[in-house]
Each structure stands twice: as C-alpha cells, then as structure tokens.
C-alpha cells in the first residue's frame, strides 16, 4: 500500500494516534435519487480505538449502514462521497482509504478490515461449500498452503462453537440462521483483520440464538484482540456489547462516549430521548416517552441543527446554526448547544427518582 501523504488531521483523540486503527473525519455521502440528493451521511466523524467495540446506533435512515459501507468502499454506484477522510493505521503507517487503488483496496478489504452483513444467507454463494468459499477468500489475498488454510479454517469454526468437520463440507442452505451467522464470523476472521465491521449481525435471529452470538463475539474479541464497529438500531445491544457508543442522527454523529456515560448521563437530547423511549424487560414499570415529530426527510433537511424540530431544548440559535461535535467532558463528545442544560435536567430527574440507583450506576469520583 502507498503511504498516505502527510496531512494534518483534526483530532480530539486521546493518546498516541497509533492506538487508533481507524479514523473518520467529516465524511459526506450522498445518493442520487430522482427527487434530489439524499444526504445519507453528513460530516460524520469518529475514531475507533484499538481493541474496543464501538457501537453505531440510531434509527433507520440515520446513515449507519452508509457510513459502514463507505469504510470499506462498498457503496453502490448511486452513492457519491462528497468529501471527508477515512484513515486507516497499521504499524505506524497511515493509509487514506478513499484514495486506495483497486489492488490495494482488495488487500485492504477482508485482510485489514472485514465486514459481517445482516443477512447471513445472502452473504454466501449458495452453490459453493463453506470450505470452497473460505479457500477462495484466502487465495485472493495470500499464497498460503491449502493444508494450512484448512487447519486455520477448522480452528476458527471450532472457535465459533461449530462442529468443524461437518460444517466445512456443508452448503449454506444446510445450516441454520445462527450457524450461518457464526460461519460468517469465522470467515471474517480468516485473514486476521485488525478491524471488523458488523452490520446488524443478530437482527434476523431469534433471541436465544442472538444471545449465543453476543457471548461469542465478546469471547472472540477477548481472545483475538481485534477492534469492532458494531452497527445496530437496537440500544440494548449497544448496552450489552459496546465499550463506546456513537449516536447518529440525520447522517451525523451527534454524541460519542463511554457506554456508561451515554446510558447514565446522556448529553444530547436525541440520545436522551431514545433512552427514555426504550423499556427494559426486568425491573418495574417505567414511564416511556416518545420524541415528538418524525425523523427528517433526508432530501429536504431542516436548517441548523437537524434535530431542532423535534427537540425540547431548541432555541433560536439551533434553527440557524448546526452545532459541531465538541468535547463536553473527558472522552465524551456531543453536538448540541444546550448539552449542559440537558445534563442538568437529567441529573435532577435521576436524583429525585432514585438517588441510590444513580450512585450505584454512576459513582461520582
């Protein structure tokens, strides 16, 4: 791969940059549509730290999947990356993903950055056995011995708790949904990538199977130490798996922070609204609250902050100016002019309702 020309990167990353395998800066992606340009991603920025799980969450149409696809440049032809940077780092080298040529891009995909898709059946070639698909993948990147590849494939299948000898000779249709999803996971790990992107990997599965996949993901990450971008509309999966959570709204990351920070001290009115809208199963009855209005039309976006028509805190400034993603507290970024107000109200509400719970959930240091 070519070394990227040294360009200054705006950064609010903590620690040395070498610990950040993937950075996205001010990324804009549009889709051409008959009615006009669909602004799917609008200036999204985030960092993925080494060994962490970053969960991208938001409602349908918030740009999560577009963002993920652009990370490995798999966007359909109707999409157009208007501007922005995607920087990938390995061994002290930096690469600009958006300007990789075809050959480098092929090496980058899968070997450096693998993706697991939502629909596990569609991700396989139905007429190839699992072994052939796995071997094809490796052949495209490495010149390893067939026997060696087979050993690695069997090891990985065992790691994802499948019977290796049986599964490797099976066709995709012979496997159940949960098994396919696990095979896909094993395949994504074949070339030992540094980053794995998972797009709603458990959405099509039943709950008990989903649980085994979640536990498996956690175990794999501990053993192999890759970094993970986990995309899900489901807040509870973010709570379960993520180290950090990024909330997206109308194509922009509006809040990023540690998972406990996000759930127990949200600072963006949208994140707060989402948390209040989702019930938990265990525990007593909770009042739920909706966010008024409906998600924005991505062709005709509102002015200023895109959330202002639905926001309780909206003021004159929000209608005119779009807030930047700025650090609120250490490692917690938010794109809102009123975050201090949001935070204060949230704290007061918690304090009144369950002061002990707050101390347990978020011990003040």
């Amino acid at each position: 791969m070519n070394r990227r020309s040294a360009q200054p990167i705006l950064t609010w990353t903590e620690g040395p940059e070498a610990d950040v395998p993937l950075s996205v800066r001010d990324l804009w992606v549009e889709y051409r549509a008959p009615r006009g340009a669909v602004k799917a991603v609008r200036g999204a920025s985030f960092d993925l730290y080494k060994g962490e799980t970053l969960s991208l969450t938001g409602e349908s149409g918030s740009g999560k999947t577009t963002l993920a696809l652009s990370l490995i440049r798999l966007l359909p032809r109707s999409a157009n990356v208007r501007k922005g940077q995607i920087i990938y780092r390995r061994d002290g080298q930096e690469y600009d993903v958006l300007s990789l040529d075809a050959g480098d891009l092929r090496q980058f995909r899968w070997k450096e950055c693998a993706m697991v898709f939502q629909s596990a059946l569609n991700a396989f070639n139905p007429v190839l056995k699992i072994w052939d698909q796995m071997y094809d993948t490796v052949k495209a990147h490495d010149h390893s011995e067939r026997e060696e590849v087979r050993r690695r494939a069997l090891d990985l299948l065992r790691l994802v708790q499948l019977e290796p000898e049986r599964v490797i000779n099976a066709y995709p249709h012979e496997l159940s949904g949960g098994m396919r999803q696990r095979v896909l996971l094993a395949m994504s790990l074949l070339l030992n990538p540094q980053v794995i992107i998972l797009d709603e990997p458990t959405t099509a599965l039943d709950i008990l199977t989903q649980r085994t996949i979640i536990d498996l993901l956690r175990k794999l990450k501990e053993e192999l130490g890759f970094s993970m971008v986990f995309i899900s509309h489901d807040l509870s999966l973010a709570a379960e798996l993520a180290d950090r959570v990024a909330t997206m709204y109308a194509g922009r990351v509006v809040e990023v922070g540690n998972v406990y920070e996000i759930f127990y001290r949200p600072k963006h009115p949208y994140t707060l609204g989402l948390i209040k809208a989702v019930p938990t199963v265990t525990g007593g009855f909770q009042e739920l609250a909706s966010i008024s209005g409906s998600p924005p039309d991505l062709i005709n976006l509102p002015t200023g902050c895109k959330f202002h028509p639905r926001c309780l805190y909206a003021m004159e400034r929000c209608r005119e100016e779009e807030p930047e993603l700025i650090p609120a507290t250490k490692g917690h970024l938010v794109a809102c002019f009123c975050w201090e107000q949001v935070q204060a109200d949230w704290d007061r509400e918690w304090q009144q309702r369950e002061p002990e719970a707050m101390e347990v959930a978020w011990p003040r240091s």
Binding site: S60, R211, L235, A239, F263, A277
Partner: protein, 324 residues
C-alpha cells in the same frame, strides 16, 4: 368480574397438504375478558400470528372452537357472523403494505363507514373521518384527510390503520406487531394512544409482539401469554411473569434478552441450553417441544409426553412437567 369476550378452545391449525404439513398452532387455549389486554409473545415462527388471525376470524382453525361472547364463531348464523366480524378488527404490522396507495386517507376511512351504513352521506362521512383522525392524534384532521399514504410517515400511516380499525366501533382489536416497524423514538406515543382506546372506548386487545419488553410495558396490569413453536407454554399476569417466570423457556428468554441498560444487561445470570437449534415445524420433537433445549429435561418424561397447560394458582398457567 368482566365477561369473557373471546375464547380460544383447544385450537389447532395445520397448513399444507400431503407430506408437507406444517403444524403452525397446536392445542392452544386462551381467554380474553372484556376491556382486557392479552399480549401474545414468542419468537418468529412460533404461531402467534396464526393464533391472532384465528382470533380475528380471518382463519378457520383446523381443530377447536373460537367463542365470541360465548358463541361458537364458526357455527354462527350468517347475520351473527357479520356482527362478530364487525366487532373484531385487526391492525397489521406493515403500515406500508396495509394501506391502499391509490386511495386518500378519506377514502380509506370512509369505505367501511359507507359499507356498514354507519353514515348516510358524504358530508357525514367526512365529519366522522375527521373525528377518527382526532382520536388517533392526527391533528388537525383537515391536513390529513386528502393525503395519500405515501405522503405520510410510518408512524402516521400506522395511526391511519388504527383509525380504520376504529371506524366500525370494534370491541376487540388484534394488533399484530403493530409498532414493530415504527421507529423507537415514536413507539411510546403510539402505545399510549392504543392504551387510551382501551380506557375511553373499552376496546379489548390481543397484542402480538416478539418484544417482551414492549409487551411488559403495554400490558403491565394485564396478562402475557408465551408461545413456543406452536404451543402455549405459559400464561401469567405481567409482573409475575417478568419477576418469577415458571416455564424454563420463559426463564431462558428473560435472561437472554439484552437490556438497554449496561449495568443491568451485563450482570444478568446465564442459562445454558442443551441445544442452540430451534426445532423445525416440519419435524417437531416428541413430547414437550422445548425438551431438546431444556436445561431441566428429564429423560423418559419430557421426550415422551407433551405437558398440558395447567392452572397453578394466581391466574397463572404453565405447560411443564417440572412445574407444579
């Protein structure tokens, strides 16, 4: 004591013919009282939609009886049957598919009104439609009456679906995953609107969902019924079912569900199942359908004999050999 409105009496339903038979629902019984909410919970393929369609009279059960106010629906006279059909309405899952895209909201809502002679002329129909839209919080109604479904958001469409169900003053609504396709941020207001219908108009609900958290929220003072591959495994008042589930499947389900609270979800106990595979409806296990996965499986009992749904006190019912 409220009257029984709908009763399913040992119903079963088989689809297909010859060798390819699918037993979608098997030996399911349940009772819904007037003004009550029953949440039917289960994973995809467990037969909850089939059960809902049978309760709504859209499907005829292969076995068993459906009783509406004590009368067998499929043995009714034509006139009686029509009354039952009018009293029962269904709200479908997908608001993008359930509204005719070539009709305006007014046309969608006025059709049943005119069909059942609930209004005499167009002016009255328009007035009634406006009232219905107000009930489902689409205000001002004038803004919505002449719109086509494609001009509305998913949440608004689903409100129109509910308004359409309300046109004939139903006493019973089957809501089949009615909020599952709606964005989380606006789900709560739809649920609130549905519970208000129960309070204001005394509508009884069969609320079908795969989401136990949603069921718990909607039916907190009512009942949840849990299904697993075509059979009923547990019925209980909501708080008891959540706090102290009796059936091993319900227990496994409750601990497996991730929660939108990091502390809570990461400190949940684990239940290890004996198998991860959901049985196929084409090849059902013998005896109890959960036995190949059940952690409390007893050989010679669970794999031989299918347990009946039996009352265990406090309005609870469980189908398990190991409970009682």
């Amino acid at each position: 004591m409220a009257e029984k409105l709908i009763e399913l009496d040992h119903i079963g339903r088989t689809f297909g013919q010859g060798k390819q038979k699918v037993r979608a629902v098997d030996n399911v019984s349940l009772t819904i009282k007037e003004r009550d909410i029953l949440c039917l919970v289960g994973e995809s393929g467990c037969g909850k939609t089939t059960t809902g369609r049978i309760a709504a009279g859209l499907l005829r059960p292969s076995e068993g009886r459906v009783l509406f106010q004590g009368q067998d629906v499929w043995a009714m006279e034509r006139k009686e049957f029509k009354r039952y059909r009018k009293a029962v309405q269904i709200v479908h899952q997908d608001p993008y598919a359930s509204l005719n895209p070539t009709h305006t909201v007014y046309k969608i809502l006025s059709a049943p009104l005119l069909r059942h002679n609930l209004v005499t002329n167009a002016r009255e129909a328009r007035l009634k439609c406006a009232q219905l839209l107000e009930i489902v919080d689409l205000t001002p109604p004038g803004d919505f009456l002449d719109k086509y479904p494609h001009q509305l958001s998913g949440g608004q469409r689903q409100r129109v679906s509910v308004a359409r169900a309300l046109t004939v003053n139903p006493s019973f609504i089957v809501a089949d995953e009615a909020v599952s396709m709606i964005d989380v941020s606006i789900r709560a207001s739809l649920l609130g609107m549905l519970s208000r219908l129960r309070e204001q108009f005394g509508v009884t609900f069969l609320f079908i969902t795969h989401d136990l958290a949603l069921a718990k929220h909607f039916a907190w003072e009512h009942t949840i019924a849990v299904m697993y591959v075509g059979s009923m495994v547990e019925i209980a008042p909501t708080p008891q079912l959540i706090d102290e589930p009796l059936h091993p499947y319900t227990q496994a389900l409750l601990v497996a569900i991730p929660e939108a609270d990091p502390h809570l979800t990461r400190n949940k106990p684990r239940v290890s199942l004996r198998s991860m595979d959901v049985p196929s409806l084409l090849n059902l296990p013998s005896g109890c359908r959960f036995h190949p996965r059940c952690p409390r499986f007893v050989e010679g009992l669970c794999d031989q004999q299918a347990p009946d749904l039996v009352p265990v006190g406090d309005g609870r019912y469980v189908a398990c050999h190991r409970v009682s």
